[in-house]
């Protein structure tokens, strides 16, 4: 950690300045425009039927998704981190698989797998009733968000190096279940709260899934309402409504962030494989298989349905090999697609690099002075992408409209928090003595930072970079509102094709998009897969 306070001050000034430009000014401009017509009009607009319905829909689906995803993620985390399930490695990887698939592709896949005339309909005559509508949105977003909850809770379980707490409970007479109820869960409360907040923010921010599953059924959420008002409507009243809703979303985000300070829980690297005790012996295999089956059903099957749809010659034909063709893929790989791919990759590279640099800057700014800075950065993440896009558009649309740069600004505003938190967490866990030893051996502040801190942080840095890269690759919510002629990202192109209504071409493009994202995420997957418990039984050397 650079200890010289002048360096820290410079870093703080730079970070604060950038935060003001990237997040502060857009939000200010947004409020300015929203309040232009006076508070009365603002309240009137918010109370209007369309806004009210959309806000209510977002809130209740968001809450349901948060509850369900955290419950499922916690159960999965307890199973993989606190019991002796066979094949844990594979289960962990499988639980994280949904992160590779952009959510709106998941929605599309589910519609093709479980919707009317979908795979299960053709094979078994079964469909998921209500796939188009709030039920479908809740189910699909729960599947998409569960890995997030799982990561947070599993991280908390794994980073507590003392499994002795649960053993002490067992040794004091508690059954497995009582220990879970009286000890494990209460201690997990901060992680559970954090997971709830993160998933809620994620669900409120979702655009692709409600667009694919909600709009056809007339179910509007804040994000689809904003998109409708901003991108699909020429009515000036719609624009007012859009800015008003965006401004109110910022307020909601501030409230949520402010009331739950720990938005992220530090993820410990140490994992222990110590079981809390014998038990669950006979049913272990069954549980593992059940978990695997659930993963297959919710993640693998929709992908299979997607691939089958992409291979089918024409809509309405059975997806049997007789009707298979690669024409859809050939048609999908046109100049537009490749252009979108290029744009997406450029943006993702830039976003990941810039975000990480900014994150480092914010960390270098020091802990004490950075309360406001940290809040501003977290706000960028918590504010739903739709609102953020509107804000950025209002602030910089004049100069940067229709360029890749404006999309980049929105990406950076949104993902800065990811880089910052990841780095801050890792830096906090650095033993300060190492840096002091380096200084005492003659290294200058910057040199000490570079030769001691950076190598120790390298895995964290790489992980954070990759996470932002993958997220930016399949970002849709903001890109769909900010792109201009010839500047569409890949996700936007796929969404536009989907909206035009040809399922086979859409499926082909969606499969290609998943392929691109998966390729990018392979290094992450390998890193996560490789980490394994290293401690011996007994809780330590003895």
């Amino acid at each position: 950690m650079a200890e010289s306070s002048s360096l820290r001050r410079v870093a703080w000034l730079a970070a604060a300045g950038l935060a003001a430009v990237i997040i502060g000014w857009p939000v200010a401009r947004l409020f300015g425009v929203a309040l232009e017509r006076g508070i009365g009009t603002l309240i009137e607009t918010l109370a209007g039927p369309q806004a009210t319905v959309a806000i209510w829909n977002s809130l209740w689906t968001g809450g349901s998704i948060a509850f369900l995803a955290v419950t499922g993620g916690t159960a999965a985390a307890l199973l993989t981190e606190r019991s002796t399930l066979p094949g844990r490695r594979w289960l962990r990887a499988g639980l994280l698989l949904p992160l590779l698939v952009p959510p709106f592709v998941t929605a599309f896949g589910w519609a093709r797998a479980f919707g009317p005339r979908g795979l299960t309909d053709q094979l078994l005559g079964l469909t998921l009733p209500g796939i188009y509508g709030p039920l479908g949105i809740v189910v699909v977003l729960t599947v998409a968000a569960m890995p997030l909850a799982y990561l947070i809770v599993a991280g908390a379980l794994a980073s507590r190096v003392e499994p002795d707490l649960e053993r002490a409970a067992r040794a004091s007479g508690a059954t497995r279940f009582e220990a879970l109820r009286t000890i494990t869960l209460p201690l997990l409360r901060p992680a559970l709260l954090s997971a709830l907040v993160v998933v809620f923010v994620y669900a409120i921010n979702a655009f692709g899934v409600p667009a694919v599953l909600g709009t056809p059924a007339g179910f509007a959420t804040i994000t689809t309402r904003l998109y409708q008002d901003l991108a699909l409507s020429a009515d000036p009243a719609a624009f007012v409504r859009a800015t008003t809703m965006a401004a109110s979303l910022v307020v909601v985000a501030l409230v949520v962030v402010g009331s739950s300070d720990a938005l992220f829980v530090g993820r410990g690297a140490a994992r222990t494989a110590l079981p809390a005790g014998a038990g669950l012996a006979r049913s272990r295999g069954v549980v593992a298989v059940a978990l695997g089956a659930a993963i297959a059903l919710t993640t693998v099957l929709p992908l299979v349905a997607l691939v089958l749809a992409a291979l089918t010659r024409a809509t309405g034909l059975q997806p049997v090999p007789a009707n298979w063709t690669l024409d859809n893929f050939a048609a999908a790989l046109d100049g537009r697609f490749l252009g979108g791919l290029a744009h997406s990759i450029v943006l993702a590279l830039a976003a990941a690099t810039v975000t990480l640099l900014l994150g480092a800057l914010a960390v270098a700014a020091g802990r004490r002075r950075s309360r406001i800075l940290g809040t501003a950065i977290t706000l960028g993440f918590a504010v739903p992408g739709s609102a953020l896009a509107v804000a950025v558009l209002l602030a910089y649309g004049g100069w940067l409209r229709d360029t890749l740069a404006i999309i980049l600004v929105a990406y950076v505003a949104k993902f800065w928090a990811l880089g910052h938190r990841q780095l801050a967490g890792s830096v906090e866990r650095l033993p300060g003595d190492q840096v002091r030893a380096s200084r005492a051996s003659g290294a200058g502040a910057l040199d000490a930072f570079r030769s001691v801190v950076v190598p120790a942080l390298r895995p964290s840095i790489i992980a954070a970079w990759l996470v932002v890269f993958v997220f930016a690759l399949h970002e849709l919510t903001m890109s769909s509102l900010l792109y201009g002629p010839g500047n569409a990202t890949l996700a936007v192109i796929v969404l536009n094709v989907q909206q035009l209504g040809d399922p086979t071409i859409t499926a082909a493009m969606a499969v290609l998009l998943v392929g691109v994202v998966a390729l990018a995420a392979i290094p992450l997957a390998i890193a996560g897969f490789g980490r394994e418990p290293t401690t011996r039984p007994g809780g330590g050397a003895s």
Binding site: E162, D164, L165, R167, A168, A169, R170, A171, S172, G173, A174, T175, R176, E178, T182, I183, P186, L187, L274, P275, A276, G277, A278, G279, R536, P537, G538, G539, G540, A541, S542
Partner: protein, 374 residues
């Protein structure tokens, strides 16, 4: 299997704990192999050994945290674990005190100690009353409302002890409970633990790497090396009659002295002449008490000498190499023709570094396993 035994089944009381052929494995490697161990009722057994020797592993298996690969564990005469079945920890008649205290951050001291009572179905108010009594017994009644974060190490461990006592078990397992405490506190807490244990009448197994601790509080001591039992006996047994050099070094300072034996000797103790003389030393008025664990032939033999079996002021020449004043006594290291000798004498130093001194030998012990070179 409730785990609460009737100890008088069959007339002879069952041992509190008994392990037969116990093997515990982690994956393909066996951490503990074919161990036989027994703890009588009301007896405190110390498991003594260096880090990694398997003591915590054994305790974990006894408590039910680790499965048994083969062999069996009985507590109070009832089988609680074997290769086929393991009784769940909460149903075994054991209480555990952990090395890292393992206190629950969200419960205060009173509720922590009340926890075992609550798990037995006792109501909150009654459980708290009993817990308060235990806190009183341990002298920490004033800490009842404090959370672990507000307690010092020693206070935390006392709460841990109270929690184990609340279990009212017939066997207690102590996993190096004083390892993280300051030296002064360690001595005091060891004795407190021993006292409360004795008063409760329960048996106990106490894992430690601290020899002084083991010798001080245990009724019997078991020496463990890489998962194997090397020696088992009373503290005096393992101190005065270690089976080999490793055991000798584990249980205290041990010097090796080469002796010339005039005649064959059978196991046992001999004194008087003709006795062994330190090799390379002239003078026949050395006739230390010879104890041996194995038959030895006349000639050269290596023996173990404890620091308190050597005395300053004697005919054998030597030179002081190190001096360390320990307060109640002084430790010397002497370079002598018979080898390097560690010596402990009462009081402040009477010889300085480098000074030539004379010394004499009171006793020697020839271990069961020959010392290398014999």
């Amino acid at each position: 299997m409730t785990g609460r035994p009737d100890p008088t089944v069959g007339g002879r009381p069952d041992p509190a704990v008994s392990c037969r052929g116990l093997t515990i494995a982690y994956g393909p490697t066996a951490v503990v192999s074919d161990l036989d161990l027994e703890v009588g009722r009301g007896e405190m057994l110390a498991l003594l050994g260096p880090s990694g020797c398997g003591k915590t592993t054994i305790l974990s298996a006894l408590a039910g945290f680790l499965p048994v690969a083969s062999g069996e564990i009985r507590i109070g005469g009832r089988v609680v674990a074997d290769a086929r079945r393991q009784l769940a920890p909460e149903r075994r008649d054991v209480g555990v005190v952990f090395q890292g205290y393992a206190l629950w951050p969200h419960l205060d001291a009173l509720d922590t100690v009340a926890y075992p009572y609550r798990r037995r179905g006792i109501g909150t108010a009654e459980a708290r009353r009993r817990a308060a009594a235990i806190l009183e017994l341990l002298g920490i009644a004033g800490l009842a409302a404090r959370r672990p974060a507000e307690l010092s190490g020693g206070e935390q461990q006392r709460v841990g002890l109270g929690r184990a006592l609340a279990r009212e078990a017939s066997v207690y397992l102590f996993d190096e409970p004083t390892a993280h405490l300051d030296a002064n506190l360690r001595d005091r807490l060891q004795l407190e633990i021993a006292e409360h244990r004795r008063r409760s009448g329960a048996a106990a197994i106490y894992a430690t790497h601290d020899t002084a601790e083991a010798l001080a509080i245990a009724d019997r001591v078991a020496l463990l090396r890489a998962g194997h039992l090397v020696q088992e006996g009373t503290p005096a047994d393992v101190y005065e009659r270690p089976v080999d050099l490793w055991a000798a070094r584990l249980t205290g300072l041990a010097s090796i002295v080469e002796l010339t034996l005039p005649a064959d000797v059978d196991p046992g103790s001999r004194s008087g002449s003709p006795g062994p003389t330190p090799a390379g030393v002239a003078g026949a008025d050395q006739a230390p008490l010879l104890s041996t664990g194995r038959p030895i032939a006349a000639g050269l033999v290596r023996a173990i000498v404890r620091p308190d079996w050597v005395r300053l002021g004697g005919a054998i020449p030597g030179r002081v190499v190190t001096v360390a004043f320990r307060g109640a006594h002084t430790d010397y290291r002497l370079a002598t023709p018979a080898g390097t000798i560690d010596l402990r004498a009462g009081g402040p130093p009477t010889a300085a570094l480098g000074e030539p001194v004379g010394w004499s030998l009171d006793r020697v012990w020839v271990p069961v396993e020959a010392i290398g070179g014999d």
